[in-house]
Amino acid sequence: MVDSIEFDLIICGSGLAGLRAAIAAAKKGPHLKIGVVSKVQVMRSHSVSAEGGTAAVLFEDEGDTIESHVYDTVKGSDFLADQDVAERLCVEMPQEIHQLDHWGMPWSRRDDGRIDQRNFGGYSFPRATYASDKVGFFEMQTLYDTCQKFDNIEYLNEWFVTSIIHDGKRFMGVTAIELGSGTFYTIKGKALIIATGGAGRLYSFSTYALSSTPDGLDMGLRAGMALKDMEFVQFHPTGILPSGILITEGARGEGGYLLNNKGERFMKTYAAGKMELAPRDIVSRSIMTEIQEGRGFKHETGVDCMKLDLRHLGDEKIKEKLGGIREISIKFSGQDPAKDLLDIRPVCHYMMGGLHTDIDGATEIQGVWAAGEAACNSVHGSNRLGANSTSECIVWGKITGELAIDYIQKNESTNPWPHHLVAAEEKRIYDGIFRGNGDVNPYEIRQQLTDTMNEKAYVYKNETNLIEGLKTIRDLKKQTWKHVDDKAKEYNTNFANVMELDSMFRVAEIVLLGAINRKESRGAHSRTDYPKRDDANFLHHTLAYYDPNEPIMKTHPVTITKYQPVERKY
């Protein structure tokens, strides 16, 4: 018999969205038991690595408007964003900033004591609220610490959730492995919030934490939910070499320049109005174009790169506003931004796509919500503006947390527990993976998979590359890597790694298929063989459903309220 525990609300994932949801739920349902289940230790999630800012309109008295934030977001999305969703984000956000402040967030301040904001790419007003350049870290700390006030939140550190159990319509629980002891559990619950973040480790050159694999997305997919818009992968213009660690957009927001090998601020050719602060897709493409036209640099590792110049900001300003990236560049690259030009290159940074949800974050299964990067409520469309992701996590964390509690209080489940589903899942994991007798090194396979994604589905894509990539990945998938050398139960990271790899294949395939199908260039999805946006044929979202053979691809309409698509110029 499988061990079982029970909560009212299960929150899978402990990043910004997960913790914000936990607080919202704990406040709204003080008598309900809330379990935060995380593959890592709660508070070690990748949200801690967010650097630059959180977008919100705080200075309406100085000329900023919610409407401008909405329009910037929609325009940044290349008009693929659902506009009602974007509006929701912008309306809800200001008070979330103040709420965080009331919980102890150490926002950077202006001399008059008010919360300061900095400039960010694609905005028409400086509205990235910041705390030095460790915004995500401080937000996570604030939320985690605030969670400690509530005694109805329980933390399941290092539990790997493997599947969602439902009766075809309604959520009933999840299965999970407690990594510490290696025990397989069922966690019964009345509602679930998926906040497992993005899947950027599909790419080997990535700003993501090593743990940011698509197991959360895959779990939803296998449960019958759709993945939406997965072909839109954001490449951040400034990942530092050789590690790929993020150099925040705030570096350019504070006045940093991008230079080519002629010493020119080449962004004047591509976005004269915004220069370095154009949206990320445009800056990344500009960098790659410069490189392809021979105006790039060669890094000592043999990779092409571009230079980021922060020297004119001065040591003191860098220490004050960009202390985090100063530490990163000195430690991990041996370059001091006050003295040296930083070697940067576009790097996988964000997935606009995710589990298909409506404006409230509700998924297609009753009782399951998704929030944060794992969700795709289409607030970012085909390209996210910097600083809007932490905003999204916080807003939909709160919304889904409260809605889940409403749902729990109104609904009483009576269906019998589906033991056969648990048994099937146990068989899938233990017979299919743990006891598999392959002879191929799964770590090598993972390396090849992520390298393929990097080569074939980078900033610029084309049909030939994408199809080759898909073929390579399908070939890799067939090899005998499904086995776990480490036979111990306790803290078996080898097992976890192979399960992660298993999920990477399904999601990588969807990313590539989506990219192949979308024969246009829009936002972060940029096809050299179809360089123009095609609103007549592709102004829609992509949906992908699970099928054992090949994902089933569908489309979904875009919600347009006020802003008709126009050509996107900066």
Binding site: K319, G323, I330
Partner: protein, 143 residues
């Protein structure tokens, strides 16, 4: 003390090699404190000999006025001076004196509390203890 909790145990607590002079001072403070307590108890006991009158006192004086007695005494002096000077330093530190001011840390991090003021305090405690020990030896053997 290897155990379930994987505590480093006494060995780790007293190992002075891996960290700065502050950790050495911590160790010396403990050892001198224990030494002084032992001496103090002994001292109370030895002085009670006076109740045995002149004979008793002189018997006892003979015991401590030899070379060994002088050496023990000089170590006690050293411990006493170190414990006092370092104690004053630690006490000031505990009150928040000379431990630096909170400030944004800049990489490479250099903890303000591990500053020269307290290092000077520690070194001067050691030096003063040594000087006092020499002086004590000079006085005791000088006669």
């Amino acid at each position: 003390m290897p155990n379930d909790e994987h505590r480093e145990g006494i060995g780790g607590m007293i190992n002075p090699r891996r960290y700065g002079i502050e950790r050495v001072a911590y160790l010396l403070m403990r050892l001198s404190g224990l030494g002084l307590l032992a001496y103090f108890i002994g001292h109370i006991y030895e002085t009670s000999n006076i109740l045995r009158g002149q004979v008793g006192w002189d018997d006892f004086m003979e015991l401590i006025s030899g070379t060994e007695g002088h050496i023990v005494m000089s170590i006690v002096i050293a411990m006493c001076v170190f414990h006092t000077v370092n104690g004053v330093r630690v006490m000031l530190g505990h009150g928040g004196v000379g431990v630096g001011k909170p400030a944004r840390p800049d990489y490479p991090y250099d903890p303000a509390s591990q500053n020269y003021r307290h290092k000077i305090g520690i070194y001067s405690a050691i030096v003063l203890a040594a000087v006092a020990m020499m002086y004590g030896l000079a006085v005791m053997f000088g006669e």
